[in-house]
């Protein structure tokens, strides 16, 4: 018990400390966990903790993650992805395996060992990549979608790999193993596997496998609703969570029993449930577990780095890791050219998937257990896999800070060639920009829309909207979109910082252009104001105000009165912001900005009475209408 508590505390504390620090430094949570793992690894070894078995347990986080990914992906979308999935994914795995095998053979390995190493290293880390892309909000971008296709294919490809590897056992190793006591027994499988299929003939195995997948699909489609209804009758919130967990665990179990990848199974189940009304319920139930398990998983990766071995072979391991990253990046770059992944995203995609992944660990222990790769080599490869995963966040940072900006400024012109120049440029075509575009087009204006999600754009083009792919905050794209002779720019992207930068850039380089900007919150209003924008629209302000107005109406206030109250409120609120905005200075933190603090205090007084409901009972407009306020009740007009 104390062991368990101790261990839990250790993992939790490490994560709780390291992740915020890493996030603050802009390194992302994954690197935080990895560093936490490295930090506690001496403690873990002092306590004789079996890191590997914890890691196997935590891999279940990957299974959950794929379930969640599936939930976000409707069957229709999956079908639309099929060419990327098979083409991009298939080629990535195939070409990388062959290339690594060739290199291994050049270094004197047999083709079998080479092939096995290729399989181990060709796979990337679903956990790290998806987590990072989600965190950065890039899942829906072209690069995100391409990455996802490849990762999904890899997850599926693990299954045949596990089947092929035992066939390639090295006779010498088998020989050796039979002489010494086999201390790797069972290293390849996670705990005790019950093998249902062992004794069945191949055709029956096929049927059972298909049957299991069919079972997941049909049960997901047919049983979810009655099951949740049944559970709901108990009226206990935690039962939903239990049910969701039971589903995921059950599917994973079934898949393991028939020898399929549990990740694949839960992914399919997720897709089946993507349209169901319980989707959000499932999502919010599973998500915390996924997060925690992945965190533990990353910590174990960090903790699993065998430092003595690493320092002994430092240069060769580092060289192999860098070589691996370079090789995988090259393959991915070439493929992304072939498959037309958009310019900006090409590097994201290629660098993002350049590491080896958690399945590499699985395959490595499996190969050793099956006498395919000698243990000495496997130990070094383990370091390569871990190190490459450890370097991935660094690659993302490299992409963010160095490659992306430089590449974008100089670089190849691969965003869409913008043929149509409009007087109005709308940057960002999400929920916000989309409505602006609809309204302006509807009233007969020509717009040019920029967005970085190509699926969005394809849909738009189907509706004859002039839409172009690219990161709208990039000067060259703005230029191509005709910013030079545009009349108006509407900044509707949801990235705060980019929006501000864009306003700043356009305001200073094209002072004649009218800029309207979407602000996320108050502080963002000030930032946009400081950047030179004067038409700033808070994205949720108007809808909130309308909701409040409806509330007033439903509480019995006359609609016209509610309207006047709301207009007054808006005016007051705008007034405050207008008063504050000029005092904001992006270089001084708000609480240290003396002028702003003074102004706030001053305005606070007015606001206070507002908050206490003491704002004049009358709206400004109706002042003229209230006769009770007049000293003389006689008519005077």
């Amino acid at each position: 018990m104390t062991d368990f508590l101790m261990l839990s505390f250790l993992f939790l504390a490490a994560g709780v400390i390291a992740v915020p620090v890493a996030s603050r430094l802009g390194l992302g949570s994954v690197l935080g966990y990895l560093l936490a793992g490295i930090a506690i690894s001496p403690l873990l070894s002092a306590l004789h903790v079996d890191v590997v078995s914890i890691q196997h347990f935590a891999e279940f986080g990957v299974v959950m993650m794929l379930f969640l990914v599936g939930l976000e992906l409707e069957p229709k979308m999956l079908w639309q992805m099929r060419s990327k999935l098979l083409g991009l994914g298939g080629l990535q795995v195939g070409v990388t395996i062959v290339a690594i095998m060739a290199i291994a053979m050049m270094f004197g390995q047999t083709w079998r060992v080479g092939l096995a190493i290729g399989m181990v290293l060709a796979l990337s880390s679903t956990a790290i990549v998806l987590q990072t892309l989600n965190e950065k909000g890039l899942m829906k971008s072209d690069g995100g979608q391409a990455s996802f296709s490849v990762l999904l294919f890899q997850d599926i490809a693990v299954i045949p790999m596990l089947a092929i590897l035992p066939l390639m056992a090295l006779p010498e190793l088998v020989e050796l193993a039979s002489h010494t006591t086999n201390d790797h027994a069972g290293a390849g499988d996670h705990g005790t596997d019950i093998d249902l299929m062992g004794n069945l003939p191949a055709w029956l195995q096929g049927i059972v496998t298909l049957g299991a997948v069919g079972l997941v699909i049909s049960a997901g489609a047919l049983l979810t609703r009655p099951m949740f209804n049944f559970v709901a009758s108990a009226g206990l919130r935690e039962l939903f969570t239990a049910t969701a967990l039971m589903m995921v665990v059950g599917i994973a179990l079934l898949m393991t029993l028939v020898g399929l990848s549990p990740a694949l199974g839960t992914f399919i189940a997720g897709v089946v449930l993507a349209n169901s009304e319980y989707r959000h319920e499932l999502e919010s139930d599973i998500d915390p577990f996924k997060g925690l398990l992945l965190g533990v998983f990353f910590i174990t990766v960090g903790a699993g780095v065998n430092f003595p071995l690493l320092f002994e072979n430092l240069w060769s391991v580092v060289a192999m890791t860098l070589g691996l990253i370079a090789l995988k990046t090259t393959v991915l770059i070439v493929l992304s050219k072939i498959f037309g992944v958009n310019a900006g995203d090409k590097w994201l995609f290629s660098l993002g998937l350049a590491q080896a992944g958690e399945f590499g660990f699985v395959l490595l222990s499996f190969t050793v257990a099956n006498h395919v790769i000698p243990k000495a080599i496997a130990d070094q490869l383990l370091l390569v896999v871990a190190l490459s995963m450890l370097l991935t966040p660094a690659l993302f940072i490299l992409y963010d800070r160095v490659i992306s900006p430089r590449y974008l400024r100089g670089g190849e012109q691969e965003p869409d060639e913008i043929t149509e120049k409009g007087k109005i440029i709308i940057a960002g075509h999400g929920r916000f920009g989309g409505i602006i575009n609809r309204l302006l087009s509807w009233s007969g204006h020509k717009t040019v829309v920029l967005d970085y999600s190509s699926s969005q754009l394809e849909m738009l083009r189907a509706f004859n909207v002039k839409a172009f792919y690219g990161d709208a905050s990039r000067p060259d794209l703005l230029h191509a979109a005709g910013i030079d002779d545009a009349e108006m720019l509407i900044v509707a992207i949801d990235d705060k910082q980019k929006a501000t930068e864009m306003v700043h850039y356009v305001h200073h380089n094209y002072p004649h252009i009218k800029i309207i900007a979407r602000a996320v919150d108050r502080q963002h209003v000030y930032e946009l104001y400081a950047a030179g924008c004067r038409e700033i629209i808070r994205e949720t302000f108007d809808s909130s105000v309308r909701a409040a107005r409806t509330a007033l109406e439903m509480l019995g206030t006359r609609k016209f009165d509610a309207e006047l109250i709301v207009q007054d409120f808006i005016e007051r609120d705008r007034h405050i912001i207008r008063e504050m905005a000029p005092h904001y200075d992006p270089d001084i933190p708000i609480h240290k900005n003396q002028a702003l603090v003074e102004k706030t205090k001053e305005l606070m007084k007015a606001q206070e009475s507002e908050l206490l409901g003491k704002a004049s009972a009358n709206t400004t407009t109706s002042r003229a209408w209230d006769f009770s306020k007049r000293t003389k009740p006689e008519s005077d007009d």
Partner: protein, 199 residues
């Protein structure tokens, strides 16, 4: 039986004394449509088609409002501007309002004597209401003498109550066709004391 439609417009209904009581009385009449315009169109976005249909489906159109600056509150103006379209209300042989009746029910702070050539308001109340009168004429409608309440802010010994009760009789008489329309047209103004109800 005639179909009576009352359009009520008061931007400050919350502060109203006279018109509030009149409105409640109008609402108490059966088979009479009462539309509270500021409640229906708080953002002044008149549904033109709907209102034209309403006008078509009634025989008597009554506008009830307080006098604001010698005219109606602005929403009435907006309503007329948008609804009385060319071709619908005028300018066509089959204009939809032909032979319908238009009436006004108004209240003022000024007294009856204020509204005279020697009074404080210089002109009689009817003079200020001529835009409505001529609007009715242009639309081929019959214009009744306005049902008026003066001195709205003064205490008048139960006269308000009388005025309100008689408003109910006025509306129901229009509905039941017991109001002497010719007499009502011939009067200068109508009130509780001179309502020309037949029988």
């Amino acid at each position: 039986m005639k179909r009576v439609l009352v359009y009520y417009a008061h931007p400050a209904h919350r502060f109203s004394r006279v018109n509030k009581a009149l409105l409640d009385m109008a609402k108490d009449q059966t088979n009479v449509t009462v539309i509270d315009l500021y409640e229906e169109y708080p953002r002044f976005r008149i549904d033109i088609d709907k209102e034209q249909d309403r006008l078509r489906n009634h025989d008597v159109i009554l506008f009830q409002f307080p006098i604001y600056w010698y005219s109606s509150p602005s929403l009435i103006k907006e309503f007329l501007d948008l609804t009385l379209e060319h071709g619908f209300a005028y300018g066509a042989p089959d204009a939809a309002l032909t032979n319908k009746i238009m009436g006004l029910a108004v209240s003022t702070a000024g007294t009856e004597s204020d509204y005279s050539e020697t009074g404080y308001q210089t002109y009689p109340l009817r003079t200020f209401l001529t835009p409505f009168e001529q609007t009715a004429r242009l639309c081929n409608m019959t214009f009744l003498a306005p049902y008026a309440y003066f001195g709205a802010h003064a205490e008048q010994d139960g006269f308000l109550n009388e005025h309100v009760q008689s408003y109910g009789r006025f509306i129901s008489a229009l509905r039941d066709e017991t109001l002497d329309i010719d007499a009502a047209c011939a009067l200068d103004l109508m009130n509780a004391t001179n309502l020309p109800v037949k029988g």
